[in-house]
Structure formats: structure tokens, C-alpha cells
């Protein structure tokens, strides 16, 4: 499922089909290559099966960082690791969409030892299927670098399965200059927020930029409203399939959303998040609930420095505003690596301060997961994001990483889009969500 297209070089709607084709192409190519035994020509596509000699000499990495910027950062990390340890790392890079689309067959086919993936349910799912390796002993060495919240997000029960590298917050983004020009202040309460929205509308602007053509951006709005109204614990158990979607709690979320919807850009379902970000950039909209990657749409320099954010105000004083979405990206190991010793050495390095800093050098829209990473190079926005995440009471991973991928893509996206088209019909939306949940969250045999 296409999730946050970070860092997106192209509008994400374009490479989809291409990604689909190349996912199939790669699969068949590998099969063909296996038949011919042309392993040499394909050293980049997984390692050959000549006996898994786990002697810690070389490892392979399956990466979804096909875009230039993260690619350069990852290459720098690999070079630094090889220099420090003498272990060769062979990267096998695909574009982000393709890698995510084909993850199932990739992990079951001939995967690399180490691969890029996500924290939360989305990683645990593959551990439950027995496809990824146990990194508990790696964590004993890197534990000091991460907060307990990060460790929890990287664990399945009491076993660790992921080394976190980067993350970024979802918040309400705005342009400082626009707020100054018009005398707006950051809202502290729900009343403030409504008053601000009305003021913005009176000034002939749109309070909230909004685009949901790709289906996932609206999940960010759902997440934050659900966490503000029903609390983090309810949100997580709802995601895990332990709560009803047609109960009063979720209904309250949609009712609140329906109240706020008139303050959003009209017709969101036909608009990409990039186009919505453009309206924030052009000062047609005042605010935008999105991840920090919104900065990708702002030209470097004056405009990007003008970007600021605040966390969504509390809607219920009992619950407060201490929870937020801050998805974590990291690296995992496959269940049966060719060279486990080398793979774990590499993962230890990926969980180090140096690796975190190298990743950040090129990447202004993320912050390092590592606690001790040098933040002197951070922009004001990154500093603020690091503080926000550091002080958060609870960190969720974003809807499509906190719940079953099939539920998020085939049930939640259509339901949210239906709601955005017809906010009156909350009953119908809740019925769809509940029916989908009952169908997909069954005990797997």
C-alpha cells in the first residue's frame, strides 16, 4: 500500500503502474535467472544460494530508497560501515513504491539479509508470519541510544525486530509570515481553533489545506481526532481490531470531523497532497495537517524556513494533547540471512549515532531516531520536531502502520473517501468499516 511517499520525487500517482509492472518483471526475472543460473549478472538481486556461510564477511541490503537524496545518505552509511568493519554490503535498490508493493513476494523469494521497513504493526505482521529475524541481541548493544517508546515500536512482544533510524511528526503546519501578517495566533484549545478558522475564512482564505487523492492523507486527520477524543490506548486497540468501528467513540470522531470539514479545502478526494501543499505555499490556505514531509514541497531557503507547526490542540481536557503520529523508518533482518553475523554487525552500525547523523546530513524533513545524534545541524523546524517527539506521551505510527495492511488499504481508504464525499452519511461509513473489520480480523489458522 502506498504510504507516506517519503521522499517523493514525483507525484506519487505516476509511478504506480510502472511500479506494478516492474514488481512483476523483477519477480519473473529472478525466476528466470534462477533457472539459467545467471547469478553473477544478478548479484544485486539477492544473494546466491551457495551455502549460507555465516562467517561475517559480507552482507546484502534490500533498500526502498531509490530516490536521489536518501540514496546518497544510505550509500554514505554503507561506505562508513565498510571502512570501519571491512564487511562488504551489496545494496539492491528499488523505488519506494515497488519495494512496498512487492514486499510479500520479496520476503518469500530470495531476499537480501537486511531490508528497509517500518515500525509498528506493519513490521510485526511479517514477524508473525515467520519472515523476519530476531534482533534482540542487537538491541542489547544499541539500547542506550533509543527511548523506551522507540523500543516498544520496534518490538513484537518482548523480541525486537527493527532498528529504528529516522522518524518525523504529523502536526498542523503553517507559514509564520502568514500568521504574522494577519495577526493569527496558534490555537491552544478547540474554541481557539474554531475561532481561528472562522477568522481565516472571513479573510477570504481557506483554514485547512486538504487533499486525499491517494487515500492515506485523511488517515492522519482521523488518527489525531481519534487520539484527542478517545485517547491513545483506545486508538491502538481500535487499530488492532479489538474495538468496534460502529460504536459511539468512532462515531464521535466522524461527527467532530464533519464539524471541521467546512473549514477544509473543498473536494479533497480529487486533490493530491502535493497540490494541497501548494495552496499552503501560495498562502491560499492557512494550515495543513500533514507529516513533516510537507517541507519537500517548499523551496529551500526563505520559504522552507517560513514553515512552522503546532500540535493539534486538546479536544478533551481529560485526554490532553500528548499523543501524536510519528512514524518510524528503520531496518530489519530476514528470517534466514546468508550471513547472520555480518548482517547483525551492519544492523548494529545502523543503530549507531554515526549512522543516524549520516542519514540526516541530506535529509531536512526527518529527525534521527538516535538519542545522541548530533542535532547542531538541525533547522529550527527539525529542532522543534525533535522536542515535540521527545516530549510526547504516546507515539502512534500512523493508521496504515498500526493496523493490518489489508484493512487499511481495502476498507479504511474507501470508507474515509466516502465520508469526505458525503459527511451526512456517517452511519453508512461506520457500517462499511465494521463489516470490513469483522471480515479481516479473524483468527488466522
Amino acid at each position: 500500500m502506498p504510504t507516506h511517499p517519503r521522499p517523493a520525487a514525483l507525484p506519487s500517482r505516476l509511478p504506480d503502474l510502472h511500479a506494478l509492472q516492474s514488481a512483476f518483471a523483477r519477480r519473473s526475472l529472478l525466476r528466470g535467472a534462477g533457472a539459467v543460473g545467471a547469478v553473477g549478472a544478478l548479484s544485486a538481486c539477492g544473494s546466491d544460494d551457495a551455502g549460507g556461510g555465516g562467517d561475517g564477511e559480507a552482507t546484502t541490503l534490500g533498500s526502498r530508497f531509490g530516490d536521489e537524496v536518501p540514496r546518497a545518505a544510505e550509500d554514505a552509511v554503507i561506505a562508513a560501515f565498510t571502512e570501519a568493519s571491512g564487511i562488504e554490503v551489496t545494496p539492491n535498490v528499488q523505488d519506494n513504491e515497488t519495494f512496498q508493493e512487492s514486499i510479500n513476494s520479496y520476503l518469500q523469494g530470495n531476499p537480501d539479509d537486511v531490508f528497509t521497513w517500518f515500525a509498528g504493526f506493519r513490521g510485526r505482521f511479517f514477524d508473525d508470519q515467520g519472515l523476519v529475524g530476531d534482533l534482540t541481541d542487537v538491541w542489547t548493544d544499541i539500547e542506550d541510544g533509543f527511548t523506551p517508546a522507540f523500543k516498544e515500536a520496534s518490538s513484537n512482544g518482548d523480541k525486537q525486530i527493527l532498528v529504528p533510524v529516522l522518524n518525523y511528526p504529523w502536526a498542523v503546519f503553517y507559514r509564520k509570515s502568514l500568521f504574522e501578517e494577519n495577526g493569527y495566533t496558534v490555537p491552544e484549545t478547540r474554541d481557539d481553533l474554531i475561532a481561528l478558522c472562522e477568522q481565516v475564512q472571513a479573510d477570504g482564505l481557506v483554514p485547512f489545506a486538504f487533499g486525499d487523492a491517494d487515500g492515506w492523507p485523511a488517515m492522519g486527520t482521523f488518527d489525531i481526532l481519534n487520539m484527542r477524543l478517545n485517547g491513545y490506548d483506545f486508538h491502538i486497540s481500535l487499530m488492532a481490531g479489538d474495538e468496534d468501528w460502529d460504536g459511539d467513540e468512532v462515531r464521535a470522531v466522524f461527527e467532530e470531523w464533519a464539524t471541521l470539514l467546512p473549514f477544509h479545502q473543498e473536494d479533497p478526494v480529487g486533490r493530491t497532497w502535493q497540490d494541497a501543499a501548494a495552496s499552503l505555499l501560495q498562502k491560499e490556505s492557512a494550515m495543513y495537517i500533514l507529516g513533516m514531509f510537507v517541507g519537500e514541497q517548499f523551496p529551500e531557503g526563505e520559504e522552507r524556513d517560513d514553515l512552522d507547526f503546532f500540535t493539534f490542540p486538546a479536544l478533551d481536557d481529560e485526554i490532553g494533547n500528548g499523543a501524536l503520529d510519528a512514524p518510524i523508518d528503520g531496518y530489519m533482518m530476514v528470517a534466514d540471512p546468508q550471513d547472520e553475523a555480518a548482517a547483525k554487525d551492519f544492523l548494529r552500525f545502523l543503530g549507531s549515532k554515526e549512522a543516524g547523523e549520516l542519514f540526516l546530513a541530506e535529509n531536512p524533513n526527518n529527525i534521527a531516531a538516535h538519542l545522541e545524534a548530533d542535532t547542531s545541524g538541525y533547522s529550527a523546524l527539525q529542532q522543534k520536531a525533535a522536542e515535540l517527539i521527545g516530549s510526547a506521551e504516546n507515539i502512534a505510527q500512523f493508521l496504515d502502520r498500526d493496523t493490518r495492511p489489508d484493512f487499511a488499504s481495502t476498507i479504511v481508504i474507501p470508507a474515509l473517501q466516502k465520508f469526505l464525499q458525503d459527511p451526512e452519511d456517517i452511519d453508512g461509513v461506520l457500517t462499511d468499516l465494521q463489516a470490513g473489520k469483522e471480515r479481516l480480523f479473524v483468527e488466522e489458522g
Binding site: 500517482r13 505516476l14 504506480d16 503502474l17 487523492a213 488499504s409
Partner: protein
């Protein structure tokens, strides 16, 4: 994904069929053992290939549609759930009925608008007008464009905020039409884009057919005082019967296979549901609901069969005649 069997175009009569008479009488003696082996192999190999790459996967898909398999693990992880998938699809999966409606709509528009328009253009361009090569290639161009590009071109036209169409229509502010986002409009918007490609395709097929019409027939009709229209419908159209059948079958199959444009626009959601897009959304990617997606694919296959079987039947009857 199931392979929808694509009906083969009628094979041209092999070798002119004018074999010398005496050879036919002594044919059996002339076939050596080697010949027979060669013949057997020539029949068996294609049959085996078709069996392996078309029918076995099809059968596999049908079988998988009765399971709850998630694409992970081997056969030991496959759990049979009977007809649960089919029940869920028809009762608690709202996109399905929208998709059925859209596929039917697609077929109707192609059949009633795009295909006749393609034929009409072919008839017009069949006369050697000045610069007809230019018109032909312009109309055929959409067919050769890569789909990602076609999707992008239409995005530029249909975009709500910066699109050409809303600007040309002079719509401002909240009067703007969200051509791709509004579920009551977007299927029509996509159908225009799809027809834009389909017309060129049909035109080319038909042009090829028209080239083979004997001029003498047209002249004879003209001598008898038939008008242009009358000539076309009474003389040319009937002689093009084989091409007409191919065009009809292609129109049906294209409508059932329709996928790429809606996938490029919004992954076949929000008013653009099509059966093929639902299959893909459920099977490909992380969702990996192989059993559920296979059930949708099986339904699509059954619908395709309704159209393909009578066609094959008529082909076989023709052969026997």
C-alpha cells in the same frame, strides 16, 4: 491475476488451400513416421503451453477463491473457507456492486459510442483525402502513448484547481467541477479518456478491413444507383463480417479488462471501481488478500466467459461449414 482468454483473430486460410489433386489422394502414404511425430509434437507443444500458462493458473485462481490464503507460506497455510469470500463480496463489500455497474457502463459506452465512432472515422479516412496520413496518425497516437503519460495528460485537463477544462469553462471558486474526485462525474471523465484511446484502436482495425473490400463491389453498387450510405450498409458492412466480429470481441474484452486508466487516477476507488482494479487492490501489494481477490477474479472470468463462449462456438461452427 487470471488470464482472460483473448479470442484469437480468425486465422487466414493456410497456404491458399490449393493443393495439387494427386497429392491429396496419396497423402497418407506420403506421411512418414517422422512426419507424424513432427505433427504430433507441433500439436502437443502449443496445447501444453496453453494448458500451463492459461488454464492451470485459471483453475488455481478458481480454487484459491474458496480459501482465505494471504499469499504467505506454502500450501500448508491454505485454509478452505467454502463460499465465504463470495458471500462477503456480494453482501458486505460495497465497492463490488459499484464495480459491476461501472464495467457495464464501460461496455455500453464503448459499444454504443466509441466503437461506432472509430468505424465512422475509418470510413472517412479510407478515402484518399489530402493529408489523411496526418489524421490517421493523430487519431492513432493515443493508442501508442504509455499509460502513465496518458493518465498524466488527462490529469492536466481534469485537475480541479489548475486543470484546463475548468479554466476553459470559466468555472471559478466553488463552481469548479472536481472531474476526477467527484464520484458522480469521474467515471464519465475517465470514459472520455478511455474512449479517446479505444476510438483510435478500432479505427486502425477497421481501416485494415476496409482496404480488403473489393472496389468492384462498390462500383457495382454505385452503378445500381445506391447512395453512399446505402452502399456502406448494404454492401461494405456485410463483406466486413469477420472484422466486425473481431471488433465486437475486442470491444467486450477491452471493457472487461479496463484497468490502467482508473488505476493511474486513484487506484480504482471513489467512484472508479472496476472489477480488475478490485482484484489488483486486494491481491497485489501488502494487502495480499489472495483468496478474496481470487474470488473477484473468478467472477470477472465468469462474466468474460459469457461473452467468449458464444463467440468461440460461432467460430467453430463456421469452421465446420
Amino acid at each position: 491475476m487470471t488470464a482472460t482468454p483473448v479470442a484469437p483473430p480468425p486465422a487466414p486460410a493456410a497456404g491458399g488451400g490449393a493443393r495439387p489433386r494427386r497429392r491429396r489422394r496419396t497423402r497418407l502414404q506420403l506421411l512418414t513416421t517422422t512426419d507424424r511425430v513432427v505433427l504430433a509434437v507441433m500439436v502437443a507443444v502449443p496445447a501444453l503451453i496453453v494448458l500451463c500458462i492459461v488454464w492451470l493458473p485459471t483453475l488455481g485462481t478458481v480454487l484459491l477463491s474458496f480459501t482465505g490464503w494471504n499469499g504467505i507460506g506454502g500450501l500448508d497455510r491454505v485454509n478452505f473457507v467454502g463460499t465465504d469470500n463470495y458471500e462477503a463480496i456480494t453482501t458486505s463489500y460495497p465497492p463490488f456492486w459499484t464495480a459491476i455497474r461501472n464495467n457495464v457502463l464501460w461496455l455500453a459506452v464503448f459499444f454504443l459510442v466509441a466503437t461506432p465512432l472509430g468505424m465512422f472515422l475509418a470510413v472517412l479516412l479510407d478515402r484518399d483525402l489530402k493529408g489523411s496520413w496526418f489524421y490517421r496518425s493523430s487519431i492513432y497516437l493515443p493508442v501508442v502513448l504509455s499509460l502513465a503519460l496518458a493518465g498524466f495528460i488527462w490529469q492536466l485537463i481534469y485537475s480541479r484547481d489548475q486543470g484546463l477544462l475548468n479554466v476553459v469553462l470559466g468555472l471559478e471558486g466553488s463552481d469548479r467541477v472536481d472531474w476526477y474526485g467527484d464520484p458522480s462525474v469521474n467515471i464519465w471523465a475517465v470514459l472520455v479518456a478511455a474512449s479517446w484511446r479505444h476510438v483510435g484502436y478500432i479505427m486502425l482495425l477497421y481501416l485494415a478491413g476496409l482496404k480488403s473490400v473489393d472496389l468492384a463491389l462498390k462500383e457495382a453498387a454505385a452503378m445500381d444507383g445506391a447512395s453512399e450510405t446505402r452502399t456502406f450498409f448494404s454492401v461494405v458492412f456485410p463483406t466486413l463480417a469477420p472484422i466486425n466480429v473481431v471488433v465486437l470481441v475486442i470491444t467486450v474484452i477491452e471493457s472487461l479488462r479496463a484497468f490502467d486508466l482508473v488505476w493511474v487516477v486513484n487506484k480504482g476507488r471513489n467512484g472508479l471501481e472496476l472489477l480488475s482494479a478490485l482484484v489488483t487492490a486486494n491481491i497485489v501489494g501488502e494487502a495480499s488478500l489472495v483468496g478474496f481477490g481470487s474470488a473477484i477474479a473468478t467472477i470477472l472470468f465468469a462474466i468474460a466467459m459469457v461473452f467468449v463462449v458464444p463467440y468461440l462456438g460461432s467460430i467453430l461452427r463456421e469452421e465446420r461449414r
